[in-house]
Symmetry: C2
Subunit: 234 residues, 2 copies
């Protein structure tokens, strides 16, 4: 959940106090800003955040370094915007799964599909978010995960619901399991390549099969007709 500090726009990006000479007063064009952020993400992915200079970014966008300062104040502002935008968008993408009608098993399956689909579609920014989060200042990190990590909280909520409903093993450690599930899904950033052997749908189905059988209760497995059937149910 973004803190009020974030929503009041103190991130510094696109918040130019005094417009530079010859520039319109209404601030940077949002589309151009997103293009620049995407370009920065590509450079960060290739060179690593610490190995990237603002010059590398301005070269990648084909702008003079000075002009870049119209959009951003520092390299960390880029990292913050990349991570904040992808984190917030990921949260939006899982919302339908969280709010889905049906038991927690159905919602967890939908969550896995939404998460994997989002990660693959936003692979560069998503990977940066995982790899370089620690490079943000403590204040910036807190700005993104203020009030606790909303993403993890959503997953923990589904797991707890499922325990109450009896579809997930009542004895699994929910906090640990939520981290382990997200860790498993996120590991795709290390080996997934677009146009690889597995389609995105198949990838998500494979993940969902593993995740669901790893925590399903005895009765959920029984009513599915065994773990192999549960693993492949859609």
């Amino acid at each position: 959940m973004p803190s009020s500090e974030s929503s009041s726009g103190r991130s510094g990006l696109g918040q130019v106090d005094r417009p530079r000479r010859g520039r319109p007063r209404r601030g940077p064009d949002p589309e151009r800003l997103q293009e620049i952020i995407d370009a920065a993400a590509t450079v960060f992915l290739e060179k690593g955040y610490d190995g990237t200079s603002t010059k590398d970014i301005s070269d990648a966008v084909g702008m003079l370094k000075g002009s870049l300062y119209y959009y951003v104040r520092s390299k960390e502002d880029f990292l913050f915007e990349i991570i904040k935008r992808v984190y917030d968008a990921a949260l939006v993408s899982i919302q339908p799964a969280v709010e889905l009608e049906g038991d927690a098993l159905t919602r967890l399956r939908a969550f896995v599909h939404a998460h994997v689909g989002f990660a693959v579609k936003n692979l560069t920014a998503f990977t940066i978010q995982l790899r370089e989060f620690e490079r943000l200042s403590p204040e910036r990190r807190l700005e993104i995960t203020a009030g606790g990590d909303a993403y993890l909280r959503a997953l923990r909520g589904i797991l707890k619901d499922g325990q109450r409903e009896g579809v997930f093993d009542e004895k699994i450690d929910v906090s640990f399991t939520a981290l382990a599930i997200l860790g498993q899904l996120n590991s795709l950033t290390q080996w997934y390549r677009p146009n690889g052997r597995l389609s995105v749908k198949r990838l998500a189905e494979n993940f969902a099969g593993l995740v669901i059988t790893s925590i399903a209760s005895d009765s959920a497995v029984q009513s599915a007709g065994g773990p192999s059937k549960l693993r492949r149910s859609r």
Copy 2:
């Protein structure tokens, strides 16, 4: 498996062609070298590989930068040594699990315990290996995973054995599943803290429970008396 290039010592580290003036000819002290490598790993973890200078490393070990060149030729040599050493040691640590008498289910459980135990015990170097592997040159990467990734191959071997034995679901995609399991286990580097809530033993048991039920066959689940019993069997 290390390539012959690696075993012939062309990594450059500790391989000083012409001993420097006043130095004994027999090369650097292995213990001191390991200390320096460990210190470098700590600095890499904190600052990121790209954000670390050789000066940072020499400061951390309390040596003059010039003296460091007795042990190492470049920053990448440090990264290579950290990763090569921890990768080879991890391979050694899982060997007993791979060679264990018993069915693949028993061996997979032992593999998870060995892997988690090793990762926790070597957390800094293990984390560097995961985070900064891509920062090595293609030649260096190949030197570590020559002939394919031996670690992943060992895990795939256990999975295939288990399919033949009928304890693992014959329809799971072995290549995908091996990556997903390792990804799940390795995600502990993102949140595990020594002296945290979970003991290492409990952590490994929790992981083993998820991993085994995620791929167990119908008959393995049945003979264990249900997924919840299988999840908690030792």
